[in-house]
Each structure stands twice: as structure tokens, then as C-alpha cells.
Symmetry: C2
Subunit: 223 residues, 2 copies
DNA sequence: TGATTGTTCTTCGTATACAGTTCCGTCAGG
DNA sequence: CCTGACGGAACTGTATACGAAGAACAATCA
């Protein structure tokens, strides 16, 4: 049907996965705003695929909390409220410090190098006022720490939560304020030193600051 | 096609959800042992539905970690290792104490009544040596506390983890040893008293004991 | 005006077809 | 007897079509 390499059907990844990626991206970026109706036909057309892969992607997106499926009514983009934000941060404050601790206890030298590189690139981007890039690099740093923790459950859960927070940030602020690079440096230092206790503490206070910032950004703008 | 109320097609729940439930149950109960190939046709026949609902259920089951989908090869039941168990407990030890704290802080009197009833029924079942029932009621208690926490993210994540632990228990021990009813009483007491700190502490030590028990059961029997 | 009835849209499930892979058994050759 | 190529079977991945049922909305009628 559509072998046009311009769309998303060109590689050897299952279409449903590509659709899921594109859907997530579309939701997080705001292309599909909260409350938007997502009919299967419409998505199938948007992505240039048939309805089947779309349906499968929608089920997973529902499980991940990005869409809500109303029986016989179809899917709509979820509408995160500030209560959701509190809920998410409550969980992140438990998980990410654990990830930091595990990362500190398990990091190989190569891992630390990767982290250092990310921090350095973020510093450069900050100097150049490239806020978008800073946000990207900070995300990469957090996700990398989750990977290094070596606990796939922890990593995948925390990643999903992190994506949701980013989503809300995008909705409320044009671009996330680049949060303190100092804290990131401290965190990587603690990981390099292999000091689990310290890493956990730093991560917790970092999360605390992020939580406050999220609240300030979202409090007055969400339902 | 199949409106036979004997199978699973009778209510007004989407078939895919019923299939997902049945699939999860089949995996946890050991009807579909780890490593078992789950071809779409076979599942469709087992449940008396067509391939589509099966596929959608499989995608969610994959996201939940119950099956692994190999590209172009199909789905197989996941094979939890003892490393997985460690990983899961590491996360549970962070989340369930939080749930206990929140439950203590937010429980309505009706909630406490429900919990008390569950504990009491578990006590009766223990007296009657009905271990299967004890296990069921203990599960219900834990899941109820998660609900009471009022944090849907926390609840759904912890629930998935809890189901996995049960799964492994079923694989290794015929029936889970009914873990200390005393601890459950203490936990409910703390929730009733609204003492978040205490509830969190009790939950943590409860988890610790469960973790040790899990290790004893699984250590020598899993890959 | 207010209730009822159609109409339409959309999901949900089924059935079917087909291409591309992967697997597996067979058979020829060493 | 072992090895390796070949060919068919099995299965996924994808597309498409169709019928049924539910929900929303507009039109009709009392």
C-alpha cells in the first residue's frame, strides 16, 4: 500500500512501534493537545498506515497513560491535572533517588565518562543560550542514570514518569527552565565517587527542586 | 462469531480486556509456563475469539512484562530470573511503604473497615488451614491499600509488580507461605491511627521479610 | 416546549488475503 | 553416518472489508 519512505514505513521496525513512537511524540510535543479526539481512522491516515497497527499502538499508549480510551467512544489524549503532577512526583521522589544510588554503586568508568560528557555539553549549550538543547541533554542525563542503575523495571517505570513530566512542562512553559547544572554536577560526582548515600540524597533534593518548579509552572494553568 | 456465554464473551467488556485478563491469569497460574510459545492463532482458539483482540492484548501484556515479543517470531511467556526478583523487590521497597504512608494519611473510616474485614477473613482462613484463600485475601489487602493511597500511578505500578511477584511464587512454591498475619494487623493499625511514619516503617519491614522469603524460595530454582 | 425517534459516526469484532520470515524436515552428497 | 542445501510449512505483519452495537445529535411529533 504505502512503501513511500517519506512517511514512517521504511525500516524493519514493526509499524505499530513506529506508530507508538510517533503518537507519543505527537502528544508530548503538543501536536495532539489534551482532550483531542484520536479516531483510529484519523491516526491511520496521519501516519499512512492501516487501522490495525494504530489500534495496537493505542492500547499501549493507554497503558502508559498518554491516552484515555472510552468504551465505544474512542481514544482522547489524556488531560494531566496538577493532582496528577503531584502523584507523579511522589513516585519519582521514591524511584529516582534509588536509581541514583544504584548507579553510584554500579557505574563503570565508561558510564561516568558518558555522564560527564552530557553534563559538559549541557554546560556549553547553556552558555550559548540554546535552551532547547539544554533540556534535551538534561533529559538524556536523567535517562542515562536510569539505564546505569541496571534495574530494567526501575528504568522503564521512571522513564515513563519522566516523559509525563516533560509533557506537562511542554504544555505549560514554552521551554523548560534549564534546571540547575550545579545539581547535575554534584549528582555525577557522587556517582563517580561510588557514594550511594550521597547520590541518593542529591537526587532527592534535585527532585524536590523540580517538584517545586513544576508546581509553580502548572498550578495556575491546569484544570 | 462466538456468543457462547460459556467462554469469556458474555459481558459488555471489550474482548481484548477479557483476553488480557485471561492471558495474565493463565501465565500467573502456570497454565502458560515460561518460555511457552504463544502463537496468535492458538490463543485466539483458546479464548474463542479472533486474532485481533489477541494481538491487542499481547501488546499490553508485553508492556507489563508478562510476555516477550520477538520480531517476526511471535510471543513467548517471559522467564523471570532471580535477578528480576531482586529488581522488583528493590522497587517495591520504595513504593509500597509510600502507599502505606499515603493510605494512613488519607484513609476514610470505610476504608479501614474494609481492611479490617480482609484481615479478619484471612485470620479465619488461616485457622482453617485454607492456604489458598489466605493468599488470595492477603493479595486483596495489599491491593486495597494501594487503592486507598489515592495515587493511581503508584497503585497501577505497584500492582503490576505485585502480580509479578505472585507469579514467581507460584512457579517456585506450590502455595505461598501465608506471611505473618501479625504484620498485616500492625499495618492496618497504623493506617487506622493515621500514623504515616509508622505505616511506612511497618510496610518496609514487611517487604523486607517478604524479600527474604522470596529469595529462599527462588534462589535455587530459577535460572 | 419536551420527549421520542432516526440518522450518522465510530468503535469493536470478525474474516480474509497476502507478502516476507523463520523454522524444520527431507534429501542429496561427502 | 554426518553435513549442508533446498523447499515447504507455519507464523507474523499488514491491509482491507464488512456487520453489529453504542453514542451523539438532529429532526420530528405531541
Amino acid at each position: 500500500m504505502d512503501t513511500d519512505p517519506g512517511k514512517i514505513g521504511a525500516q524493519h521496525l514493526p509499524l505499530r512501534d513506529q506508530v507508538l513512537d510517533a503518537l507519543r511524540k505527537g502528544i508530548i510535543s503538543g501536536d495532539y493537545p489534551p482532550g483531542e479526539r484520536l479516531t483510529e481512522d484519523r491516526l491511520a491516515e496521519d501516519f499512512g498506515v492501516s487501522r490495525n497497527p494504530v489500534r495496537e499502538a493505542l492500547r499501549v499508549a493507554e497503558a502508559e497513560g498518554f491516552v484515555v480510551i472510552l468504551p465505544r467512544r474512542g481514544a482522547v489524549v489524556a488531560s494531566p491535572s496538577s493532582a496528577t503532577i503531584d502523584d507523579i512526583f511522589a513516585v519519582r521522589e521514591r524511584l529516582e533517588p534509588l536509581a541514583a544510588r544504584l548507579a553510584a554503586e554500579r557505574a563503570a568508568p565508561g558510564d561516568v565518562t558518558t555522564l560527564r560528557a552530557l553534563v559538559e555539553r549541557a554546560r556549553l549549550a547553556t552558555e550559548q543560550q540554546d535552551l532547547r538543547r539544554v533540556a534535551e541533554l538534561n533529559s538524556a542525563l536523567h535517562l542515562q542514570i536510569l539505564e546505569i542503575s541496571g534495574n530494567p523495571w526501575l528504568a522503564s517505570i521512571a522513564k515513563a514518569l519522566y516523559l509525563h513530566v516533560q509533557w506537562v512542562f511542554r504544555m505549560t512553559a514554552k521551554e523548560r527552565a534549564p534546571h540547575s547544572a550545579d545539581e547535575h554536577v554534584k549528582l555525577v560526582d557522587a556517582i563517580e565517587a561510588g557514594d550511594g548515600d550521597l547520590a541518593e540524597m542529591v537526587a532527592l533534593s534535585h527532585l524536590g527542586a523540580a517538584s517545586v518548579a513544576a508546581h509553580e509552572n502548572t498550578e495556575s494553568r491546569l484544570p
